[in-house]
Amino acid sequence: MRMRTQVGRSLQRGLYCRRLRLRGSRMNLGQFWQKVCLGRFGAFTTGGDVRRINELAEANGENQMRYAIQQYAKEMPSPSVKDFESWLAGQELPDEAVCAAYLTEDPEIVRMAEKLETLRGAWFPSAETEDEIHELESRLKGLLL
């Protein structure tokens, strides 16, 4: 039987989804980095740090970077852009849509993203699994990107 991803009714309303997207994007990534550094570590950042973070965000995806900064902040006792860059190089982060979903912290959206990641981890995916992956991808992208 095909899996049906259950998404709450409120979630399907575009307005709510746009609000979710906006909530996570109020500040640019440089500012976000500054906030994380100040809030979590009490460390100050330079203008060069902020510029570099913004450059990285342009090179990667914005949601991916925001998610990466969050994860880095959880792990590292003292932040530095250089250290963050080398840390980032060793990571295999989820794609933009999945990171965006994680950033919403909405249980239903996160569950959907996790389902997608789980299915993407299939070693020998069947046609049905591919269809499911495609469907979840389209839904997440439609909702969040």
């Binding site: 994860q71 989820p94 789980t118 299939a122 995916p125 069947s126 699994t129």
Partner: protein
Amino acid sequence: MRSHLEARLLASVATVEDFEALGSIGVGEDDFSHYRPMYKYLVSVIQSQGKVPRFLDLKQTFNLPETVTRAASEFRFLLGEFRKLVVAQRLQETIDKNVEEFGEDPDALLESLLKSLMSIQTTSQRHSSVTDQSMADRMDIYAQRARRLAAEGLIGIPTGISHFDEKVKIGWVPGELNGLVGRTYTGKSWLLLYFGVVAWQRGVKVLFVSPEMPVEETEARFDALVMCRNDIRVDVSDLYRGYVPSPQMRDLAGRIGKTSNWITYSASDDGRLGLTELARLVNHYQPGLLLVDGISLLEAGKGRRQQVWESIKDISYGLKNLAVALNVAVIICHQANRSAHNTARPPGLHEIAYGDDFARACDRVLALSRPQSLEGQETLRVTIQKFRKGEPVFGGIDFAFDPGRGQINELVPGDTSRTGDNGEDSEAGEGTGVSLSLP
């Protein structure tokens, strides 16, 4: 003597089926030292004409002694005698070769001999079957299985995963190698223990082999899991630190102490464990389920250095052979080499050291992942990546996972064991206890 037996055996081959019987017991061209050309001639005639040559032709071509005749009734007897001769010869050759190679080091000699001899045993036990002829017999076997299924609810050893136990109704089957893969700290060892406890509660003898975890730690984990399944909550850290057991715990321990169905074995002094030692342990304890906590610390055999790929391949297929030869279900953990921030995605084949060989040798492969915890509930997701006897489950099966307090159980819709959204545990007796909490 040997040449006479070879001649009589080959002369007695009256049909193509007779000739195929030679191959089915593992006898081939190399085993005929005197009449190898005659064997090859039989092969070529059977291949070209689809029938065995006339006895007269054989006798004239290969100048067979007068005493050699074609007596179809003798064939089975001669085949049995020849197999004994071949096995004896292989034994002798194996011993000679090993003594020559490791004669100076008795420990290495013993290790190598055990391994080599086991492979001889496996070969001789490997039997073929006349598939079409035995079809009627198989009908009886199927019917017998159906009766067992009706009586016991599943075939094999219960797994604690509803997909296997209730949907497919095929548990861990003797002779199967099952792989468990996950990244560091995903919960592989805990899940392995959980599988063991589920089987043990059904009266299956379990041998838990840990090449890295001390016996004391494994047993503390076992206690926490078993207590939780009996509605007694205890933090496994308390057990490590020291803990005054409650009367209920002592009572439970007293009842469990009457059984002796779980054996925990830790690694030897040098931290390595060989396949032959594993086979010896299985022979000694005769478990129904063998759990091996980590492939990386196992070694295929002493005496020669191996590349990692060789080692993983040898161990994987060695374990599969062991499972088949000793008729035991085996579950082994293997570690994925990436610790990424994408914990919801199960480790891929490419992330497991030489995962192709490992996956090929395994009958089932379960991959572990950890979805993000948003509702105060730690979850472990088990995806079935390979399942020879059924369909894989790529969508995963979720487990409530609080191993520190002994709680591991599959989450099913409406599960009462799920803790509340605020992450606080409810009181003991919330439903993690199972009806079959004692073996």
